[in-house]
């Protein structure tokens, strides 16, 4: 299966990266990591890329890493649909102090617009 993981640097996206890499190490799925410009975080793309490489190296895994400029949700869906991916993977949202799950803006756009299956990692 061809997986496209979108990561913008929020805590839940980092968690999604770690869990997805661990899973792919077992399944042998073909993973592409797309580094997004998430307006809700201050993480810089190069810092995210280093983090991605660290997680991949620790797991002894390889993945294609790409940078997507511009609107994160629409660019991710465009890439997934255009390049024949089977599934988009994203962080499943942050939790509020109360413990309420808050879906991020990128996940919201992708869920409502993608014709490809979407996995939110909780």
């Amino acid at each position: 299966m061809k997986l496209l993981l979108g990561i913008g640097g929020s805590d839940d996206s980092i968690r999604a990266l770690e869990r997805t890499v661990a899973r792919v190490a077992e399944t042998g799925d073909d993973l592409t990591v797309a580094i997004l410009r998430n307006p809700a975080t201050e993480a810089d793309p190069e810092g995210i890329e280093r983090r991605v490489q660290d997680v991949l190296d620790d797991a002894g895994m390889r993945a294609t890493v790409r940078h997507l400029d511009g609107d994160p949700g629409s660019r991710l869906v465009e890439l997934a649909e255009g390049d024949g991916y089977d599934r988009i993977v994203l962080g499943g949202g942050e939790t509020s102090p109360m413990g309420k799950i808050k879906l991020g803006g990128i996940a919201e756009f992708v869920l409502l617009n993608s014709h490809i299956s979407v996995t939110l990692v909780r």
Partner: protein, 184 residues
């Protein structure tokens, strides 16, 4: 939610403080008072009996382990909790959990299904705000499903205003007056 400009300019209150005893619309005697650690068993029982169709954004959680972890977190230091008691049972619970910056809290309120539509939620909500203001909270926010009109109009009646209508959930905020201030 930490941007002060998203809160209403005008403060609401003062609100009632616990304990308060009243007869609900079904004629049941209900007491709203501060949560005491001795209530923990009865509070857990309320959430174990809670209809999961009334959950919002993953709370209350459903398994015993998750309920325990969640209640530990929301009854911890600096939190404000009030409960509605009928006989020996907890039938409603409202809570403020601190957020950044100081003086800010997130609110949640749950009433057991058999006790809904009886005026308990309104009293529980107002009493929680009075308790929170007395404990020094100035800004309270919450999120509610955008389709939940009855809840949104209840929050508006008390003084909450929409603060973020862009996201999936409808966010609302209230600024609390000092409890000793006269509203004129």
């Amino acid at each position: 939610m930490n941007d002060d400009s998203t809160y209403p300019d005008e403060a609401s209150g003062p609100f009632p403080e616990p304990p308060r005893t009243f007869e609900d619309r079904e004629g049941r005697s209900i007491t709203v008072r501060r949560y005491d650690p001795d209530d923990r068993g009865a509070l857990t029982a309320m959430y174990e009996a809670f209809d999961s169709a009334d959950r919002a954004q993953g709370i209350p959680p459903t398994t015993e382990k998750r309920i325990t972890e969640w209640l530990d977190a929301i009854t911890g230091e600096e939190t404000v909790n009030v409960v509605a008691i009928h006989g020996d049972d907890v039938v409603g619970h409202a809570t403020l959990v601190p957020d950044e910056p100081e003086g800010t809290a997130e609110l949640a309120i749950f009433v057991l299904q058999a006790y809904q539509h009886a005026g308990i939620g309104t009293r529980l909500l107002k009493t929680l705000l009075g308790t929170g203001a007395a404990d020094g909270f100035e800004r309270v926010w919450l999120s509610v499903e955008r389709w939940n009109e009855p809840a949104i109009s209840l929050y508006e009646k008390v003084g909450f205003r929409a603060s973020d209508t862009e996201s999936f959930e409808h966010e609302m905020a209230i600024r609390l007056a000092d409890q000793t201030e006269s509203t004129g």
